[in-house]
Amino acid sequence: MKKNLMLAATLVCGCALLAAETYTFGGSTTVQPIANVAIEKFTASKPNVRISYEGVGSGTGLKQLSEGTLTLAGSSRDLKKSELDAGLVPVAIASDALTVVVNKDVRVANLTKDQLAGIYSGTIVNWNEVGGKDEKIEVVNRDETSGTFGAFKELVLDPKKLAFTKNAIVAKENGEVAAKVASTPGAIGYVGLGFVEEITKAGGKALAIGGIDPSVKTTLDGSYPLSRKLYMVTKGPAKAGSVEKSFIDYVLSARGRVIVKEAGFIPLK
């Protein structure tokens, strides 16, 4: 009797496994926090759908998407022409912006993207080189596994093929950046747009980049230079009724926007 029960149980489980549809998504590690929470909530009401998200980076994710290993890829950069030509279709799901903050004794209110790259690669070391007073620049960087570090690298240093200076204070959290920038004369740091208030409260100030002040508005219209869009990408337009299509729709829905916001990004209007 017991044996029969177990046999029956095994059969039921086996059938359930066979019936489950498995999907592999992947790509940008920046998109991962959004994707992971969205997948969890999205599949909660769909016991037969299993989705995993592999954080392999935007480039690798898009490559695997066109090869068919993934059916949906997250990307934290715009698609290249070759990728668009290969039939990949991006849908913007969120905006991300970095804010550059400085100690209150710094007299500079605006930096160009080139000057910022110079400061973070170590070629500009004094504030008087960018129109400020004669004071050493104390660079505050993030730990290299953080998404904020990766975003700054992609937006500021990578286009000029520069590498971060190692002569920088390394802070583990946005809050630690805030504390160290606010307390160290001549300090410069960067945080996600959502953390600016924390910095200004601690006595620091946010810089304009290329004459544009960071805000939700300048981020959404794309004029702020340190902003970027996050995408979910499919090979060919996502088919109506497919899991990929309904997942993207879920991320763009009111509930998805809450997830985006909680992950520290700006939901699209």
């Binding site: 290299e144 596994t145 204070i169 390394v170 583990k172 307390s183």
Partner: protein, 286 residues
């Protein structure tokens, strides 16, 4: 009843042995695979730490080994003279009134959580270092000062206890021979108590080497070779904790391998203590 108790106690004793064994196995299992990808010299003797660089990531931890040793030695340079003097003062000179007060203060110092030391470092030590010797304040020197305060209680307590346990005949004999108080302390008491004092210093060294949170907040954490006391520093412990949250793959393995290096350092220190203690016991029974 007796036998049952004995077994219970034995079981409890085995828990700590099992914990040590499990920890050792775990750290080595997680860290050793690194050496399939990175050679041992490239790991221990290179200063190029940049695991997220793509391609050609760098996994050299020499700067952090040097950083750990540098900060520990500097902190001992501060804490050993102060700690030993305080310990001798407590054992020999502090009166009935002041002694207990000082002792309570030292014990309080020992009980303060390390993150508080770190915050104190950011608020007081870092600005002081920035103002007086210069630099940005986040430095090996700031870390050493914070660590020195943290290891003081260990050195003070060990010194006091071992000076106190020097037999009274030695003390009285020295004074009876006409030695001054200073001569008695430097010529009789300290030499007689030396193994205990050394043990205290080595224990303090272990604490300084293993401390994470306090140095993380004041050391600057730049992955560079420290060029001097005012240079920023990253120690082995800081390196493990900085990237632990999100690291994956070879990067994560490299963090565990860093922990192995730290583990070996601490193990060597402990073996040294054991040997020193054994020698001390031999000396005192002779």
């Amino acid at each position: 009843m007796e036998a049952g108790l004995e077994r219970t106690f034995l079981a409890c004793a085995l828990v700590s042995i099992a914990s040590v064994a499990l920890m050792t196995v775990f750290i080595f299992r997680q860290g050793l695979p690194l050496f399939a990808k990175v050679s041992l010299p490239d790991f221990l003797l290179s200063i190029d730490w940049f695991p997220s660089r793509d391609p050609n990531p760098g996994y050299g931890i020499l700067s952090f080994i040097v950083g750990s040793v540098f900060v520990t030695v500097m902190s001992l340079a501060i804490s050993v003279p102060v700690g030993i003097s305080t310990g001798i003062f407590l054992a020999e000179m502090a009166g009935r009134r002041f002694g207990p007060f000082l002792r309570a203060a030292v014990e309080l110092l020992a009980g303060i959580p390390s993150v508080i030391y770190g915050l104190f470092g950011i608020a007081v030590i870092v600005p002081l270092v920035r103002m007086i010797p210069g630099g940005n304040g986040y430095s090996a020197l700031s870390s050493s000062i914070v660590l020195a305060i943290m290891v003081l209680p260990t050195i003070i307590n060990m010194t006091e206890v071992s000076v106190r346990s020097v037999p009274n005949e030695l003390r009285e004999g020295s004074l009876a021979l006409g030695a001054t108080r200073w001569q008695t302390i430097s010529g009789v008491l300290v030499p007689a108590a030396r193994s205990g004092i050394v043990t205290g210093v080595v224990l303090g060294m272990g604490r300084a080497l293993g401390e994470t949170m306090a140095v993380l907040l004041v050391g600057g954490n730049a992955p560079i070779m420290p060029a001097g006391p005012l240079s920023m520093v990253r120690t082995l412990t800081m390196n493990v904790i900085t990237d632990m949250a999100y690291a994956e793959g070879t990067h994560l393995t490299a963090l565990f391998a860093t922990a192995i290096v730290l583990f070996v350092f601490i193990l060597a220190l402990n073996v040294f203590i054991q040997v020193a203690l054994k020698r001390a016991v031999k000396e005192s029974t002779r």
